[in-house]
Structure formats: C-alpha cells, structure tokens
C-alpha cells in the first residue's frame, strides 16, 4: 500500500468514526457524553490533518458518505461502538507506521495510535472492564 493509499484509508475511517460518534454520543449520559464530544473533536482534527497531507501530495481527499452502518440503542451499545471505532482507527494508524519510512508520518501515526488506545481504554472502563487496556493496540 502506498503512503497515499494509507492516508486515504485513514481519512475514510475518520469520516466513519466522526459519524459514529455523532450517533453514539446521543445515547450517553454525562460525563460520558462530553467525553464522546471530545473524542469526536479529536477525530475531526486528525481527519483535517490527514486531508491536508493528501492535498500537499496533490491527491484527492475522499468525501464523507451520507450514512454509515452504525447503530446504538442503549448506552452499553454506544460504549461498545466507541470501543470498536477506536480499535478500527488503531489498526489503520498502525498500518501507517508500518507502511512508511517517513519519520514525520511515523511520528503522526505513533501519536494518533496512542490517542486511540487511551480513548479505547477509557470506553472499556466505562463498560466496567478493568484495567481496560490491551497489550498491543492495533492488533497482535
């Protein structure tokens, strides 16, 4: 996979994560709802960073879709969806780190992977799992 392909895949996944947080945030009570809003903001920042990287490479930025196949009826569903969204992002950020020799892209990947791992652990703890961490974020 080329760096451009990796960045494009990441933008598409960030679009989906942003949509997913919009759906799941409505199912959460405070203070979790605020945490979801902060996560949503963080994903928008990453999406915009990635889109800017694609533009500097004169590559097309994939648009967001009208809808994504996500649903959350209750708070537990919403938290489980948040965990899945962060785990999905972790996979792709790790793909970037392992798919480039560019130190700046690797540094971005390490920082973003770390953020997703921290958020995923928080959501798992909100589901009652302790300590909520995983040994190898982004898969083994």
């Amino acid at each position: 996979m080329s760096e451009t392909d990796l960045l494009t895949t990441l933008v598409e996944a960030e679009h989906a994560a942003i949509y997913g947080y919009g759906v799941l945030g409505a199912r959460l009570a405070e203070p979790l709802r605020t945490a979801a809003r902060e996560a949503d903001d963080a994903h928008r920042v990453r999406r915009d960073q990635l889109a800017a990287l694609l533009r500097t490479r004169r590559s097309a930025v994939p648009p967001t879709r009208a809808a994504y196949d996500v649903a959350a009826a209750r708070q537990a569903d919403a938290l489980a969806l948040a965990v899945r969204l962060e785990e999905g992002m972790a996979l792709r950020w790790r793909d970037l780190v392992g798919g480039t020799d560019d130190r700046a892209l690797r540094a971005l990947g390490v920082a973003a992977l770390t953020d997703t791992a921290v958020r995923a652990a928080r959501w798992r703890r909100a589901l009652g799992r302790r300590p909520g961490t995983v040994a190898l974020p982004g898969g083994d």
Partner: protein
C-alpha cells in the same frame, strides 16, 4: 508473502470491529505480527538459544551491514524488563492492588514476547526497582517515549510493534491513576 498474510488476518478482525468499511476476502493460514517479529528476533540472534556457535573466523571482504533493529530491539527489551521488575516490586508492596498490577504486568510480558523474548542475562538495573505507583507511572511514561522515539528509525516491522508498545504504555498511565 508473510506480510500480506498478516494484513489479511487483521482485516478479518477489522470486519468485526468496523462494519462501516468493507472487509477483504480472507485466505491462508493466520500469521500474527508477533510471530513474524519473533522470527526476525531469532534471525538477529536476540534469543538465548541462538548462542555463539560459529567457530570459523570472518572471511575477508566487505563487512556485513549492521542491522539498526538489533540495538533498537534490545533497548525496547531493556525497557520492558525494567517495567516487569517494577511491577513485581509493586505487587510485593501493594497486595491490595494485585488484580490491576497483574493485569498490566501481563501486558508487559506480552510486549517482551512481541519483541522476540528476553536476552540470557538481565540488565543489572532491573534489581533496583521500587514498588511505588508513582515509580510505575514514571517508568511507563519513559518507556512510551523511548518506544515512540525508536519507532521512527526502526524497520517497518519493528516500528509497527514499537508504536503499539508506546500506545499501550501511555494507556497504562490512566489505568494506574
């Protein structure tokens, strides 16, 4: 190709984790990132069982290139051994936190395995570990920074592992709070 097998296996996980993005067909035997990296560690002579068996002197000619991964991997192993020792000390000092400490220690044991295992002789600094949680957090923070820094210059395969280790150590900070 091994690496594409790794990717295919991960896509199978991903199709569960993120239904929003289409999954790819899954074929071939599962090969984990860890297995691939452990094989690399074996080749690099990091595991004790590789030993020193070559008796013949090096032939004249161009020197083989030094693999930068060897030193990076050893540094990461030292960080994980220091953490394991610190968790052992904390488990002795804080039996009331045993469940949490054991769970986090187990993740560091997985990190060590993902790096290909421990060298035969532990580093001398390991014995001086203290059992305070603040010490654990400081070690986790230092390890995360070291793993993250070394991920920038490692091979792609090792960089991927070091990035995951950096992320995991950072996630441990809040778990220890």
């Amino acid at each position: 190709m091994q690496w594409s097998s790794v990717r295919r296996r991960r896509r199978r996980v991903l199709s569960l984790a993120a239904p929003v993005v289409g999954s790819l067909p899954v074929t071939g035997a599962p090969v984990t990132r860890r297995a691939v990296l452990a094989a690399g560690a074996l080749a690099a002579g990091l595991l004790p069982l590789s030993g020193c068996t070559g008796a013949s002197p090096a032939p004249p000619g161009p020197q083989p290139a030094v693999d930068p991964d060897v030193a990076l991997r050893e540094a990461a192993v030292r960080r994980e051994l220091a953490l394991l020792a610190a968790y052992d000390a904390a488990l002795r000092a804080r039996p009331g936190s045993a469940a949490l400490l054991r769970a986090l220690r187990a993740e560091h044991a997985e990190h060590l395995a993902a790096l290909g295992g421990a060298p035969a002789a532990p580093s001398p600094s390991v014995a001086r570990a203290a059992g305070r949680l603040s010490r654990l957090r400081a070690l986790e923070r230092t390890a995360a920074a070291g793993h993250g820094r070394d991920a920038l210059g490692a091979s792609r395969q090792l960089a991927s592992v070091l990035a995951a280790l950096a992320a995991a150590e950072t996630s441990h900070l809040e778990a220890l709070a």
